[in-house]
């Protein structure tokens, strides 16, 4: 990341810290001697701190946008995250209103957040995840080995972790049309629901139904499908569509597609993020790893569209909806 360019001085912003931390947790699985509980616990604290800062920055930005568009448009826009300030190397985590009251609960939450990613060999991850060859987590593309279904891995976590599989947003248009440039697609491994959020609208199924993905069309062509539409996801299907977009051979049908191979997506996303290092979907994808709360937040906001967005409310909701990410640290 920054290693090559800056030796000692580095001004890591929250999102870089998050991705670095995730990478550490991920690589700890394959380290000799087994998962180090102590180190992973410490990393999860950094994750929490970085996430707190990031969320507070983000919701502050959302609030400002809301002030700009008081007519209730984009409920949860995907704003370009304010370019990470050249913060001093030590960023104090901005205190969220919930922060001071509830640190203890959140320390548990972050442990959960980090813990979810600690699923080591003990976890009975579903086979399709275990087949995934690409373990490396580049920013914005991280595969969490949650446990979907009743198989539920080790540790006896009481609540099933949804395990979010994040897939890179659609590309930003073959013709340079930026319509899809801020899209997040989140796959919930428990319910197998694909949820796509684009530019503030909750698009279910954007990838399959948005014609711009499949044809070179300028601008937003079709209206977003009604919120609430869900589509069953079959492993490999999304990959298929992406493949179609790029003119690659189509491959099989909907079901029974090739085992999910994220490498293709990752390569594309890396290219994408190299060009748009500050892109908001990068950040939002990271958020989605921690917060199914993101989508939860959106649906809540749709219901309460008149309620002014303010940092306090968003913060509380996001933090409260961490429950989705509840797998315990299971060291052994």
């Amino acid at each position: 990341m920054l290693r090559g360019r800056r030796r000692m001085e580095c001004t890591l912003d929250a999102q870089s810290l998050i991705s670095i931390s995730l990478r550490k947790i991920h690589s700890s699985r394959t380290q000799r001697g087994g998962i180090k509980l102590h180190k992973n616990l410490l990393v999860s604290y950094v994750l929490r701190n970085a996430r707190q800062l990031y969320l507070s920055e983000r919701y502050a930005e959302l609030y400002r946008r809301q002030q700009h568009y008081p007519d209730g448009a984009p409920l949860l826009a995907m704003p370009a995250c304010p370019p990470p300030a050249a913060a001093p190397p030590e960023l104090a985590a901005l205190p969220l209103p919930a922060d001071t009251q509830d640190r203890e609960a959140r320390s548990c939450a972050v442990v959960r957040g980090g813990a979810e990613l600690l699923e080591g060999p003990v976890c009975a991850a579903p086979p399709e995840l275990q087949r995934a060859p690409c373990r490396d987590s580049s920013p914005g593309f991280y595969r969490a080995a949650g446990s979907a279904g009743p198989g539920g891995g080790g540790g006896g976590g009481s609540s099933a972790a949804p395990g979010l599989l994040y897939a890179a947003g659609c590309d930003f248009g073959t013709g340079g049309v930026p319509h899809c440039s801020s899209r997040t697609t989140v796959l919930d491994l428990d319910t197998h629901v694909v949820t796509t959020v684009e530019n503030g609208y909750l698009h279910q199924d954007c990838c399959s139904q948005c014609p711009c993905c499949c044809q070179p069309v300028a601008g937003l062509a079709s209206p977003p499908p009604a919120p609430g539409t869900k589509r069953k996801y079959y492993p490999g299907q999304e990959e298929e569509e992406e493949g179609v977009e790029e003119g690659e051979p189509g491959g099989g049908g909907v079901a029974g597609g090739p085992p999910f191979a994220p490498c293709t997506k990752r390569a594309r996303f890396e290219e994408y993020s190299a060009e748009h290092p500050q892109d908001s979907s990068n950040i939002s994808n990271l958020i989605s790893i921690f917060g199914s709360g993101f989508t939860g937040l959106v649906s809540r906001q749709q219901a309460d569209s008149e309620q002014p967005l303010n940092g306090q409310l968003c913060g509380k909701q996001a933090l409260a909806s961490l429950g989705a990410w509840t797998r315990a640290i299971v060291a052994f």
Binding site: L37, L91, C108
Partner: protein, 453 residues
């Protein structure tokens, strides 16, 4: 060039200098991972110095008797015994490899001619007996000199075997193996002052053992939450009190220390004393939790104080005062602004140890760039020294080093950005009575002693 006084019967205000004495280990730039020293420990008399490495080996050095012919060279440490203590293992049930790295060595007090030490890796503790053999019996009846059995019918006369001297042989044999008691990684062992029991601590539990009994241990501390999602801290180090056999302490990743009394209850989950310094809110950062994690805790020889090491500082605590340490020493405060990079390259997770001198007047701990730091508690003076091959001439006086934290770099100073973070001194040991220190620098062991006037 003032050094730091300490040890022996000397007063705290005596200035003296540290000199290079010996260095053990390969000079090769290419360091094999297995050769990296992972623990250093003097025995109770200081005559033996044990090191453990990542390859699971233990090397014991013995101090030579001072000879009249070379009065200026105090007893040198030479290899006494080398043995493979732990081997890599594989836990098939959990599909986990168990590292053979020696995490800790602790000597037992000597009770007879043999020496005993405990060595541990992540999962298994072993009691080793190191004994000398300098005589050999000859003249057996039932077997001849090369060990072959003689045919009993051929024996026509009986003889009494006699002992003959032989070249000294030092044998190390495992006398006890204490296994299968720890689910998590063992980080500490500590021999009790009763010389009968010892404790072993992993991330979440502390067990009490009897040295004679290997198939049973008693769990005395268990901080594992019922729901692992609620885990917020782990045990990082534990030690028995040097005099009170019922008292021990353990430190946590949250920067707290708990003192427990085994006489108050069988399960010491509830502490008797709780040592914590309130966090300074102005210094809060992303990495506050990491740098407050305690990596080592050591009682003073007197038993009145204990010392803790976290990432940036060493603190001395009075056992009678729980709300803050009595002394705090900054080891390398200039790293506080570099925590981002140190997090990236994993250095922020390095676990530095610390040690007292024999009289508890000085403390020592390691840093980066092969620097180590000494603090004189009475004069409040501190010194930074370096363990390097360059200053490894016999009896060469160590020159104090200085790190330039900003502004103009003076001559002989080294800037923070030039520090080599791969050269870290995590393990140091101080002779229990004299001013001799052992400093482990990656795969080399440096021995320094004070200059004899």
């Amino acid at each position: 060039m003032a050094g730091v006084a300490g040890g022996g019967g000397g007063g705290g205000s005596n200035d003296f200098q540290w000199c290079f004495s010996q260095v053990k280990g390969a000079i090769d730039e290419d360091v094999a991972e297995a050769d990296i020293i992972s623990t250093v420990e003097f025995n109770y008399s200081g005559d033996l110095l044990a090191t453990g490495d990542k390859g699971g080996r233990v090397v014991i050095f013995q101090r030579e008797q001072e000879s009249k012919s070379r009065p200026h060279s105090r007893g040198e440490y030479n290899v006494y015994s080398t043995f493979q203590s732990h081997e890599p293992e594989f836990d098939y049930l959990k599909s986990l490899e168990i590292e053979e790295k020696i995490n800790k060595i602790r000597w037992l007090p000597q009770q007879n001619a043999a020496h005993f030490l405990l060595s541990t890796n992540d999962k298994t503790i072993k009691l080793w007996k190191i004994s000398e053999r300098d005589k050999r019996a000859e003249g057996y009846n039932l077997k001849d000199e090369d060990g072959r059995l003689r045919d009993p019918f051929r024996i026509t006369a009986l003889r009494v075997p006699i002992l003959k001297p032989m070249d000294l042989m030092v044998e190390a044999s495992p006398r006890r193996i204490f296994a299968n008691a720890h689910t998590y990684h063992i980080n500490s062992i500590s021999v009790n002052s009763d010389h009968e029991t010892y404790l072993s601590a992993d991330d979440l539990r502390i067990n009490l053992w009897h040295l004679e009994i290997t198939d049973r241990s008693f769990n005395i501390v268990d901080i594992k939450p019922a729901n692992m999602e609620e885990l917020t801290e782990v045990i990082t180090a534990a030690e028995f009190h040097p005099h009170h056999c019922n008292v021990f302490v353990y430190s946590s990743s949250k920067g707290t220390i708990r003192l427990c009394d085994m006489r108050s209850s069988a399960l010491c989950d509830r502490h008797s004393k709780f040592f914590e310094e309130p966090e300074d809110p102005s210094s809060r950062s992303f990495f506050s939790e990491i740098i407050s994690s305690i990596s080592d805790v050591k009682f003073s020889h007197s038993g009145r104080y204990m010392m803790t090491r976290d990432y940036l500082s060493v603190k001395v605590w009075d056992l009678n005062m729980e709300n803050r340490p009595v002394e705090t020493y900054q080891v390398h405060e200039y790293l506080r602004s570099k925590l981002c990079s140190l997090y990236e390259n994993d250095c922020i997770f390095d676990k530095f140890e610390c040690c007292w001198n024999g009289s508890d007047s000085a403390i020592m701990t390691g840093s980066y760039n092969n620097f180590f730091r000494m603090f004189d508690r009475s004069t409040r003076r501190d010194v930074t020294l370096e363990a390097s091959r360059e200053s490894s001439k016999p009896r060469a006086v160590l020159k104090p080093r200085k790190v330039c934290t900003g502004g103009k770099r003076k001559k002989d100073e080294i800037s923070v950005d030039s520090l080599d973070f791969n050269k870290k001194i995590l393990h140091t040991a101080w002779h229990p009575m004299e001013n001799i220190i052992a400093v482990a620098a990656t795969n080399n062991l440096y021995i320094f002693q004070d200059k004899i006037n």
